[in-house]
Symmetry: C2
Subunit: 492 residues, 2 copies
């Protein structure tokens, strides 16, 4: 190596500084460490130094909403159709599909229809997705809201994440561009704003009121940003909430729209958990906006709303297929043309995922041959999520220094944790924030991976963590309860 | 509408100027128009004004390398396995799979192995892709080059496009950051550099020498850029070429590596057409770099190379599945950690696509039950591509004012066209570049969609167009020949 006459072109000090600034804790240090533990357990051998034997025999990935990594089964109807799309030769023997594999006629019909729409799942589609599938999405939105939707305002995407990336890219205009982001938030928003060199304008959600939006706080955050020279152009709302699990009442949605109209802000409504609601019901921004427009004609005509949805969440949990969509409402056609061009550079979203999305928005209906099984599977998942949420909630109720509201929606609980003075000192010594310190110790001791509240943002002086309630069984909750007790005893 | 009291937040004059500047002709105006024609033909009704009846009955999308949109059939082995991954319940009746659908044992075995590696195709994988699949890619690279590859340097991506986007994001550091890009080029590069507000440093390929790289030209472009204050950090090479169809001799690859070493440039080797080679053989940058490193120890140790590959091209043409990978060679581990974090923000590439990639890099081997059919299908596609390339090449030979070299590789021909004075005047009047004018007339008259050379870049004063040679049959070539003759007569 002594003869190496040159340094590398790229090093940590000369690459994109905005990429360096971006933080994405959901897949950060803790997640990487948990994967190493998982690999060590898989190898099964005695550990190779510096590894030590692990005090647990499974890793519980509660850091990310990844239902099928845990025990959630896919919906049969969807996967039966996808198999036919991947291998249309199977359609040449309908009898065998039915007799040997229990395929129903509506599965076969759907596959034939989707194949007609996309040609082949191996072909690029139009940049915004296959027109027939976008029409299905528009029909779904119409049924959901009771107001028309237009397929040409629907853009299919590789998960909602890719849609957020597109929208923030177009909204950004200069380093002073600001976007209102709830705190706590899903770190996709802050990470993307960092990469874009835009300003994140944080507004706090109201923990004391089930993590709802609090208009006075939004207004204050907006005014402060404007006074600092920020050109605030958009507001992000995540409903149901991530990481909070909150499900917003209609009034909060309405107030947010009115505020956006007043300040001329684009509304980015992240509604990927729209079917994961346990308390009350989901109120879509599109539906509430259309009602406002109907009740006060002219007043909200030019409100710009982008609402996002995904197949990764809901009762299907098909994260690995990377599919989603966003609907644009009230956008300038010239701006939409730029959005179309921007997404064209990446050609098109995965076509298998587009087809999957079609089935999510247009599932078997009562009376269809596949309906009964579909309905059973859907409700099994839904009830399972609620049961697990409740079990975890009850376990937290029993843990000293842990406070959390009743589960309302999404896939997460976001409890406040109060840690003893000594634990906070130990964290400081380890050069960690106290919540990070707690989560690291939890992982090391139990194999349970969760994300510290600092990864999502939290009010100064408060500590939280986010855990999914997807992992099956109660054994892992027991491990956690035991750890928590020992942790408190150690640092009391 | 008169009561509308506010303007929209976003308009064409205040959105991201860098998005606005980006150009992506492959899916631009011509492609959009061709889709409208296709929709009109599908409706079949008499046209609704202002539409007029179309003088053709099919649209030929020769604007984009999308084999399965035309008549290319997917490889049976791959699609049989994918069907099992989507619906693992099919594996519960192996007998029926074999007897009713002709599944072979190796198909079943591969599906079981892939399911073990990914868990479920509906689950997120690790951000860089499932480890077992990355290992398969590393094995493929080792077999191809005769030098080791490490799975931890392999990053799976949603097509090569997404890999290019990642790499350019990390390489960018400031508006003066420059990247050497061949002209003509695939516009992904210039479009992404525009969005990033980086400088494209164009270097011309040598049309008179089968579109090979010409070191003197690269050197000149580099020196000029540096003298203008550009911080040139990387060089893009597309081999086999897009849009040129060139296949680079080993000497060109070697010279480019030496130049990159001299100037401390990251090499971005776009090698997505590595199996689409008709003349000579493919020389991978990785293989040539390792040979140089072996022959002159120490001299090239820190050369940074990113080489990209895709399932969209080759003989599988599985564009719709959005899968690919890039391998990093010689990168600083701290920089790789930033790349890992960056891709984590989008969670992971489509998992079905990851599995497909595994089969592309690790196809059935001689002696495997599926080998014979696989081999037959592979060669059928390969020979078909060569046959079509040759047919189109011969048709161009017969067209007045069209010059093109013998097809060497990729999926494209990029002929020079010479247009009469009067045609150039008509173009000017229509506010079009002459090549764009010709391509628009071609589309209007024949339904054949190709991309003007200006969409890829060309030497001033020259005119080209890019066409794929994927469309089946010869009828469309006949339509083109007839159009060309009439066009020349009209403007003679």
């Amino acid at each position: 190596m002594s003869s190496t006459r040159r340094l590398r072109s790229l090093n940590i000090d000369n690459i994109n500084p905005h990429v360096k600034e971006a933080k994405y804790a959901v897949r950060g240090e803790l997640a990487i460490k948990s994967e190493e533990f998982r690999a060590q357990l898989k190898r099964g051998d005695p550990p190779t130094p510096p590894e030590s034997p692990l005090p647990f025999d499974t890793v519980i990935s509660a850091n990310i909403g990844n239902p099928q990594q845990l025990d959630q089964k896919p919906i049969t109807f969807i996967r039966q159709v996808l198999a036919l799309l991947e291998n249309p030769a199977l359609l040449e023997n309908e009898e065998a599909l039915k007799s040997s594999f229990g395929y129903k006629q509506d599965v076969i019909d759907r596959a034939r229809w989707l194949l007609k729409e996309v040609g082949s799942v191996g072909a690029y589609s139009q940049s915004a997705g296959a027109p027939g599938i976008r029409q299905s999405v528009a029909n779904f939105i119409e049924r959901r809201d009771g107001f028309p939707a237009n397929k040409d305002d629907i853009y299919l995407s590789a998960g909602a994440s890719s849609g957020v990336n597109t929208l923030l890219h177009v909204i950004w205009a200069k380093p002073e561009t600001g976007v209102l982001v709830p705190i706590p938030q899903y770190p996709l928003y802050t990470a993307t704003l960092s990469v874009l060199n835009a300003r994140c304008v944080p507004y706090y959600l109201d923990e004391s009121n089930a993590w709802s939006t609090e208009l006075a706080g939004i207004r204050e955050a907006y005014d402060k940003a404007v006074s600092e020279g920020t050109d605030v152009r958009a507001i992000v709302i995540i409903n149901p909430g991530n990481p909070t699990g909150a499900s917003l009442p209609e009034k909060d949605v309405e107030e947010t729209i009115k505020f956006a109209a007043e300040k001329n802000l684009v509304i980015m409504a992240d509604e990927v958990y729209q079917t994961n609601v346990f308390v009350g019901e989901f109120h879509s921004f599109k539906g509430v906006l259309r009602k406002l427009q109907k009740n006060e004609p002219g007043k909200y005509d030019t409100v710009e709303l982008a609402s996002l949805n995904s197949v990764s969440k809901g009762m299907v949990g098909e994260c690995g297929h990377r599919a989603g969509y966003f609907e644009l409402v009230g956008f300038d056609p010239e701006v939409q043309a730029q959005i179309y061009k921007f997404i064209s550079i990446m050609l098109c979203p995965p076509v298998t995922g587009q087809c999957l999305l079609e089935m999510v928005v247009n599932p078997p209906k009562q009376g269809d041959p596949s309906f009964e099984l579909y309905d059973e599977e859907y409700n099994y998942v839904k009830n399972g999520l609620k049961k697990r949420a409740t079990a975890l909630y009850e376990a937290f109720q029993q843990m000293e220094g842990v406070e959390v509201g009743e589960p309302q929606g999404s896939m997460y609980l976001f409890p406040t944790i109060t840690l003893p003075e000594k634990a906070q000192e130990a964290a400081k010594e380890a050069d960690r924030s106290p919540d990070e310190f707690y989560c690291l110790r939890l992982l090391d001791a139990t194999g349970i991976c969760v994300v510290p509240g600092s990864g999502f943002g939290q009010k100064p002086g408060t500590l939280h963590l986010r855990t999914t309630f997807l992992a099956p069984g109660t054994d892992w909750v027991g491990r956690w309860t035991k750890f928590h007790k020992e942790f408190l005893e150690k640092y009391r």
